[in-house]
Symmetry: C2
Subunit: 191 residues, 2 copies
DNA sequence: CTTTTTTATTGATATAGGTCAATGCTATTT
DNA sequence: AAATAGCATTGACCTATATCAATAAAAAAG
């Protein structure tokens, strides 16, 4: 159950067997079906979810009813509404499963306790958050600086796995363009 | 010199006098003139900068020569290219001073050493990074979901200090719109 | 204080990408 | 395997915002 999890953690920090056993006690496994919600707008995000298997997405829905993809998470990635999780405020996001998934959940209390009892995990999350900042910053710059076509080409070049795994309409939303525009870009590129 | 700094730190974590004195040893003060660069594209970002006084900006310049504002930092805020700082890769950003500023600089080595020797600072930065993720995520969603006018109204509502302090052309760039468009939006709002 | 440089405003025009609607595909579901 | 629902593609048209250009206003420099 924790194979993917600890291989991820070990990529970033050194962690002993003892620490690993302690860390395990803070998590509980959960299976979630395709299209099932893990979080709905208005609810407080009670857990951080680590994806052992499957595929999740988070998104917000604006006043016009349009969805905006925030994040995709497959094997080895985390998913949550961090703002809601940390502040206990109601979320403005939805999280659901694109594919049937197996998750490891940790509550806010568990998270805080784990970080205090296992300092190496404080370090792990600091590093994780660092990396997250970097990728968000990149995405932001791309959304400001590039045309729809350039954004798609960047994604193809830098995140081919995402393009393979994720349905086109969700990729369009992730890039901040319409599915029609993405379809036209793809046609144009082929020639 | 460290007044603003420790008042910021104390907002987020509990820190003893002893720890404060140790932390101080890792920083060196620096004054920087208006329009002076702290970082230029191609250089490695050698320091995290804490702004005790003044105003900095970071931005990237695309192939067309257009600037894209990434971040503004005034009293109590941090500034760096985190990616370059952490990875020691050449930066793709510029950082310069909008106003004459007083900074506290910490090197990468100093940073790593400080986090190991003063664990409460590891915690401080984890919290700082969390908050950064949240604000980047918000900005990203706004850039995807909202029109130019909506983005400006959001900024006015949620970040009035930024609108007051920062010249209009830089605000336009921060919002991903042209100065002309921002000017027209302002005229429209006035009526 | 005057000159020079930088920034903001305004107008005219162009365009990338959105919206709406129809049709054809691809997956689920029964 | 047939039926149904959800996606992708394509075309016609529209709109928000960019671009270019010319002043006007404000700020910095001498």
């Amino acid at each position: 159950m924790f194979e993917v999890f600890f291989s991820q953690v070990k990529d970033k920090v050194l962690i002993s067997e003892q620490e690993q056993n302690l860390v395990k006690t803070f998590f509980s496994p959960k299976k979630i079906r395709k299209k099932q919600y893990l979080l709905q707008e208005g609810d407080v995000c009670k857990h951080l979810a680590f994806v052992e298997k499957g595929l999740l997405r988070s998104y917000s829905v604006d006043e016009r009813g349009t969805e905006h993809m925030i994040h995709f998470a497959w094997e080895g990635w985390w998913m949550a509404d961090i703002l809601s999780f940390l502040s206990a405020e109601p979320s403005t996001y939805f999280i659901d499963a694109i594919e049937e998934s197996e998750l490891l959940l940790i509550s806010f209390q568990g998270f805080e306790e784990m970080l205090l009892k296992v300092p190496v995990m404080e370090r792990y999350f600091r590093i994780l958050f660092q990396n997250n900042i970097i990728s968000k910053e990149r995405r932001l710059i791309q959304s400001l600086a590039y045309s729809a076509e350039e954004k798609y080409l960047h994604l193809l070049a830098n995140n081919p796995k995402l393009v393979q795994k994720i349905p086109q309409n969700l990729i369009a939303s992730y890039l901040g363009i319409t599915p029609e525009t993405l379809s036209r870009i793809k046609r144009k590129i082929k020639q």
